[in-house]
Amino acid sequence: MSNTKRSGEFIVPGERIGVIEEFIPNFGTYVQDGVIYSRNVGYLSFDSATRKVSVYPVAKGLSFPKIGSIVVGHVVNIQGLTAFMRVVKVGKKNLSGFLTGALHVSDIDARYTKEVLNAVKVGDLVRAKVISDANRILHLTTKGENLGVILALCSKCGGTLLLKNRKSKKLYCGECGNFETRKIASDYGAGNM
């Protein structure tokens, strides 16, 4: 081949890397008519043991959630057994826009949750994990210690709900003293997005 590329070389989308007879195309590449091309801006990597070829992206990275991504969003709507979240952060990156995700009651807590409203309410800031993109809808879960509500407001007066103590996991309103229940994350109120 005339234009042989080396590992670690800077590469832009569309550059020809090789043919499928030579390498196994891995992430950052695509195949068309038996030819492997790059689809990212990044550095080329050849794995001589497995013959895998990939392109490590150098761009800021696309903030599009994958299964397993940790996302942060507001609850915007609760319909029956599902809470809908406006996802504004994926991983460490703030989105320029937002995406909508669905959180079903059965995925809120490892324990049984009878009503969505016992665990999350509209306006809550929630950290969740993506479990599926079936039907091209982001399905979320808050099962797990570090997942759940990270900031909530009182449903009576709108004051910030405070944590009584970390063990009891009970929330009360700093303004009116109203007690509420939520599925909270272990760092509730710490201000970590």
Binding site: V12, P13, G14, V41, K60, L62, S96, G97, L99
Partner: protein, 241 residues
């Protein structure tokens, strides 16, 4: 329009491009951005997304919606241009969108939109081509997976001579103009327009010249991306040290 030495109004040879300067990652709030100066053209491009489509009914169930807004600033031309999108700007938004569409893996992001904003700060002919070139850079900067970069360039006929990369005067006074958007690695043309009249032979000549121009501009595109990311890598290494 062509002097006795065979040089054009701005002193270029018929097959010579204007001076090109490109920069990637110029806007902090966009997901991806780029800037180009091609002769007296000055164009900014910003890319946002993939993000949720609004209004929602425009969302496509199987792929991302690509939206493009080509806009000329009121001060970009000699006579003040109304900031409202004109018939011409609406058409250019559409053709630039269609020129970029085949290069992007839209099917990876169903029910979302990728929005491109092209703002012409100063215009001097060939802005649809420069706009396409800079939008492709902004897309690559945003990390959108692409089949190839898209690069565009025009050729045309001025005073009976086939010339490359027409400027405003040549575009208006010349006989014909053929803008071409091209994916250089795949060898595919994604935009081909013509105004004026050319013989078949002249047309073929213009098309080949425009594609040659595209290949030259492609090198600048690659350099611009490299300049952006190689410096980032160095900065990161600097911080780690």
């Amino acid at each position: 329009m062509i002097n006795e030495n065979g040089l054009r109004v701005d002193g270029r040879k018929p097959n010579e491009l204007r001076l090109i300067k490109m920069e990637v990652g110029v806007l902090s709030n966009a997901d991806g951005s780029a800037y180009i100066e091609q002769g007296k053209n000055k164009i900014l491009a910003a890319v946002y997304g993939p993000r949720e489509v609004h209004p929602r009914h425009l969302a496509l169930p199987d792929r991302a919606l690509l939206r493009c807004r080509y806009h000329m600033a009121p001060f970009s031309v000699e006579e003040r241009k109304s900031p409202a999108p004109s018939r011409r700007e609406i058409e250019l938004s559409k053709v630039i969108k269609e020129a970029l569409e085949p290069a992007i893996f839209l099917e990876k992001f169903p029910r979302t939109s990728i929005d491109i904003f092209i703002e012409v700060l100063q215009a001097d002919g060939g802005t649809r081509c420069a706009g396409t070139t800079v939008a492709a850079l902004a897309l690559a900067d945003a990390g959108v997976p692409m089949r190839d970069l898209v690069v565009a360039c025009a050729a045309g006929k001025v005073d009976g001579v086939i010339v490359l990369d027409l400027n405003d005067i040549e575009d208006k006074e010349g006989e014909a103009d053929v803008p071409v958007a091209y994916m250089p690695n795949l060898g595919l043309i994604s935009l081909l327009q013509m105004d004026g009249s050319l013989t078949i032979e002249e047309f073929n000549q213009s098309l080949n010249l425009a594609m040659d121009g595209c290949k030259q501009i492609y090198k600048f595109q690659k350099e611009a991306l490299k300049a952006r990311y190689v410096t980032i890598k160095e900065e990161v290494e600097e911080c780690l040290r």
